[in-house]
Symmetry: C2
C-alpha cells in the first residue's frame, strides 16, 4: 500500500504551497497575521449561534391531545426567540464583516478582542429568552443593552487599536492621508447602535416600553435605511456622484459585503441545519431495550419499523437542505460581488432554511396522526417555498445590476442564465405543487411528500439536459417562424424573459 512512498510528496497539494509565501513568513515574524482564518471561525460561530436556537423550538413537546394555550404560548415564545436571534446575529455579522474590511490584518491582541466580541454575541440569545419569558420585567432588555454596549465597546477598541498600527489596516485606508476622517466615520457607525442601547438601558429602569422601541430601531435601522434609500433611488433616480474632493468618504460601509464571507456564513447555517436533523434521530428514535422486549418480543427490526416514517422524513429533509445548499452554491458561482440587498434576501432565505428542522419535526411527529397530516405538510411546503423563493429573488436582484454583480457568462440571455433560472425555480415550483396537491387531494400522505423530496435530486440531474433540449427546440422553432414560439415544450423551465 505505502510501499512506494517518496521522502517528499510528489505533488504539491492545492493551495498548500502557494500560501506559504515569503510575505506570510514576514508577517509571522512581525506578529501580524492574515485575518482569513479568524474570519472563517467567526463566520462559523455566528452562523451556528444564529441557527441553533431552533432546537428549543423543535424540542417543545406537543402531544396533539393537549395542544392547549400554555403550549401554544411556549411555542410562539420560542419561535420568536429564534427569529430575533437570527436577525440580531445577522446584523452583528454584517457589522463584523464591514469592520474587518477596514482592518485587513490582525495580531494577537485583535484576535483576543475578536474572541471577546464573539463571547458577548453568543450571550445575546439568552437575553432574548429572558425577554420572551418575562416580557414585563425589564431585566431581559437591560441585559440585552449591556451586551450590545459591550460589543460596541470591544469593536471601538478594535478600531482604535488598528488605527494606531496602520499596517494592520486595509492598505488603501492605511496609506490614505484622510485616515483620521475614516476613523471618525467608522467609530461613528460602530457606536451608533450601542449609543441607542445606552438610552434604552436607561429607559428600562423606569419605563421599559420605550426600551423595546429603541431595541427594534437598533435591529431594523440598517434594513429600513437601505429600503428607504432604495425606494428613493427608484422614485427619484440615482443620486449624483459626489465631487472628487470627497474621495475619502466614498468607502461606504453600508455597501460592500464580501462574497467569500456571505458564502462562509451561509455554509455554516446549512451545515448546522443538516446536522440538527440527525441529532434528533439519535436522541429520540433509539428504542428502549425493555420496550423492545415487551412490546415487540425482542425483535429490533419490528421496533424500528415503527420509526419508518421518521427515517423517510430524515432523508427527505436532508435532501432538501442539501439541494437548497446546492442551488445557493450554483448561484454564488455566478456572483462576483454581493450587494446589500442580495445580503438581505440571503438572510431571509437562511432564516427559513433554519426553520427546516421544525418542518421535519412537524412531518415526522404527525406521521402517525393522519388528522394533522395535511396541516404539517402545508407548513413544510411553506417553509421550503419561502426558503427557495428568496434565493430566486436574490438572483433577480443580482440581474438588476448584472454588469456589476454577475460573471459575464451568466448575463441575461445566455444558456447558463436559462439553466440557473431553471435550477432556482425548481424548488419554488415543486413546493407550490405539493401545497396545491394538499388542497386538492384530501388524503395526501406525508410519505408521498417525503418521496417527492427524495426525487428532487434526480430532477436536478435531468435539468441540464432538459434546458438544453428546450433551448434547442426554441431555437429551432424561432428558425421556423416567430409566431410558433408559444407552442414550445411544456416541460421547459421558465425562460429567460420572465426573470
Amino acid at each position: 500500500m505505502s510501499g512506494s512512498r517518496a521522502p517528499e510528496p510528489a505533488l504539491s497539494v492545492q493551495g498548500d504551497a502557494t500560501t506559504s509565501t515569503g510575505d506570510e513568513d514576514e508577517d509571522a515574524a512581525h506578529g501580524t497575521q492574515h485575518s482569513h482564518r479568524m474570519l472563517s471561525f467567526s463566520d462559523a460561530l455566528l452562523s451556528i449561534i444564529a441557527t441553533v436556537m431552533i432546537l428549543p423550538v423543535t424540542h417543545t413537546e406537543i402531544s396533539p391531545e393537549q395542544f392547549d394555550r400554555s403550549i401554544q404560548k411556549l411555542l410562539a415564545t420560542r419561535i420568536a426567540v429564534y427569529l430575533m436571534t437570527f436577525l440580531i446575529v445577522t446584523v452583528a455579522w454584517a457589522a463584523h464583516t464591514r469592520l474587518f474590511q477596514v482592518v485587513g490584518k490582525i495580531d494577537d491582541t485583535l484576535a483576543l478582542l475578536n474572541l471577546a466580541c464573539m463571547m458577548t454575541i453568543t450571550f445575546l440569545p439568552y437575553t432574548f429568552s429572558l425577554m420572551m419569558a418575562f416580557p414585563e420585567v425589564p431585566l431581559g432588555i437591560f441585559l440585552f443593552c449591556v451586551c450590545v454596549i459591550a460589543i460596541g465597546a470591544v469593536q471601538a477598541l478594535i478600531v482604535v487599536y488598528a488605527f494606531r498600527l496602520p499596517h494592520l489596516l486595509n492598505p488603501q485606508i492605511g496609506c490614505s492621508a484622510h485616515r483620521g476622517l475614516y476613523r471618525r466615520h467608522i467609530l461613528h457607525i460602530v457606536l451608533r447602535g450601542p449609543a441607542l442601547c445606552f438610552l434604552a438601558a436607561g429607559f428600562s429602569l423606569f419605563f421599559y416600553p420605550v426600551s423595546y422601541l429603541l431595541m427594534a430601531t437598533v435591529i431594523f435601522l440598517p434594513y429600513a435605511s437601505k429600503a428607504a434609500s432604495w425606494c428613493r433611488g427608484r422614485l427619484v433616480g440615482p443620486r449624483e456622484p459626489p465631487a472628487p474632493s470627497m474621495e475619502f468618504f466614498t468607502y461606504d460601509l453600508q455597501e460592500p459585503l464580501s462574497k467569500e464571507r456571505v458564502e462562509a456564513f451561509s455554509d455554516g447555517v446549512y451545515a448546522i441545519v443538516a446536522t440538527l436533523l440527525i441529532l434528533d434521530i439519535c436522541e429520540d428514535n433509539v428504542p428502549d431495550a425493555k420496550v423492545v422486549e415487551e412490546r415487540f418480543q425482542g425483535s429490533l427490526v419490528a421496533a424500528l419499523s415503527v420509526y419508518g416514517p421518521q427515517f423517510l422524513a430524515y432523508f427527505g429533509s436532508f435532501a432538501t437542505v442539501g439541494l437548497l445548499w446546492f442551488a445557493h452554491h450554483s448561484l454564488f458561482l455566478h456572483v462576483r460581488k454581493a450587494t446589500q440587498s442580495m445580503g438581505l434576501l440571503n438572510t431571509l432565505s437562511l432564516a427559513f432554511v433554519g426553520g427546516l428542522p421544525l418542518a421535519y419535526q412537524q412531518t415526522s411527529a404527525f406521521a402517525q396522526q393522519p388528522r394533522d397530516e395535511l396541516e404539517s405538510v402545508r407548513v413544510s411546503c411553506a417553509i421550503i417555498f419561502f426558503a427557495s423563493i428568496f434565493q430566486f429573488a436574490m438572483w433577480t436582484a443580482a440581474l438588476l445590476r448584472e454588469a456589476e454583480t454577475l460573471q459575464p457568462s451568466a448575463w441575461f440571455g445566455g444558456q447558463e442564465h436559462a439553466f440557473m433560472c431553471a435550477k432556482l425555480a425548481l424548488y419554488p415550483c415543486a413546493s407550490l405543487l405539493a401545497f396545491t396537491l394538499t388542497c386538492v387531494l384530501s388524503r395526501f400522505s406525508t410519505a408521498i411528500f417525503h418521496s417527492m423530496q427524495i426525487a428532487v435530486p434526480f430532477a436536478f440531474l435531468l435539468l441540464r439536459l432538459l434546458v438544453r433540449l428546450a433551448l434547442a427546440l426554441l431555437r429551432a422553432l424561432r428558425g421556423l417562424a416567430a409566431p410558433a414560439r408559444d407552442t414550445m415544450d411544456p416541460r421547459a423551465p421558465p425562460l429567460p424573459a420572465p426573470c
Copy 2:
C-alpha cells in the same frame, strides 16, 4: 451617513475583485467549478456531526442522589457513541480530503454525489446508537456496514466519473500518462474499507462478534499502519526513495493533508463546541414564571442569582474554548504543511475539545453540591489538559521535520519559537496547576476554577511581554557569564531547549 456614496465602491474589498478572474468565468461557462466552497461546506458538516454527539451525553440527567448502575451504563454508552462517531467521522473526513486532492474541480454531478456521500455519513451516528443500545443484536452493525458500503460506492462513482472527464482532475494527474494506474490505486484505497464491511455485514447475519472485529479494523487501520510505519522508520531509519521510474506511484494518498482543510475542520469543531454551551444555558437556565412568583416573590434578579455559578461556568468555558482555538490558530500560522502524524494529534486534541461541554456540564451541575465539586473540577482539568497537551505534541511533531512543516521564522531557536512554546505550554501548565491544587486544597471551589479560566486570556496578553523580557534577560546573562544561566527569571516560560 450614506450621503456621499460613489456609483462604484472606491475600495476593492479583500479577495472580491481578485476571485472574479476570466479563468473562473470560463469554468462557469463549461459547467465546472472550483471545489473550494464545496469542501468548506463538507468540512463544516463533518466537523459538526463529529462533535454534536456530545449533546446526548450532556443531556443525560444525573441527580447525584440516584447515580445508579443504569444511569452509569447510559452515560458510558453515550460517551462511547460520541468517541466512536468522532473517530469514524475523522477517518471519513481524511478519506474525503484525499479524494478531493485527486479531484481538483467539480461539476454539478460531482456536487450532488458529494451530498449523497455526506447524507450517508451523517447517518453513521445513529447506527452507533443502535449498536451501543443493543450490542447483542446484529442490526446496528449491519446498518453500519451498509452505510460504509454506500459511502464507498458513492466515492468510487466519484473517482470513475472524474477519471472519465480528466479536466476535473488535479492537473498533474490529469496530464499524467499513467492515469489508469492512478485510478486503480485510488479505487483500491477507496474500496478497501467497504470490502471489509461487506465481509462484516455477511458475518453479522450469523456470527456478529467477527463483525465488530472487522469494524474495528476499518476504523483503526489507517492509524495502526501509520504508527507501525513510524515506529519502523524510527527503528530502521527512513526507507530508501523509490526508483525514478516509479514516479507515477509517489502520489501517496496516505501522506498529504491540506492545511487549509485541517484548519476548516478544526474551526468547525471549536465553533460548535462554543455554541453548544449557550444552547444549554438557554434551554435550562430561564426560570419558570410560576417559580419566580412563588419562591422569589416575583424578583427575577433573585431567581437568576441562583444560576450565578452557571453563568460563571459559561464564560469560563467559552474563554477556554476560545483560547484553545487561539492557540491552534497561532500554531497553524507557523505551519506550512500538516503531516499525517500532526493530523492524528489534531484529531485527538479535537476529541477532547469536543468533550468540553461535558466539563462545563459537570462543573455547573455540581456547583451546588460541594461533595462532588473536587471530582468535577478534576474531570474538567483533565479534559483541558489533554486537549492542550495534544496541541503541544502537534507542535513537537512539526518541529521534528521543521524544514518541511514550519515557516522559517518559527524554526528552532528564534524568538517566535520561544513565544509559540510559551503559548502552547500555558494551558497544560494551568490545568496541571489547577489539578494539583484540588489535591492540596480540599475545599477548592469551582468558582475559583472558573475565575482562573477567565483570567487566562490576560496571561496570553502578557505572554509576549514576558517572553521578550525573559529572552532579553537571558541574553544579558549570557553576555555577562555562561555559568550565570541557571539563575534566570523564574516567571520565564519553557525555554527553546526543552522543546
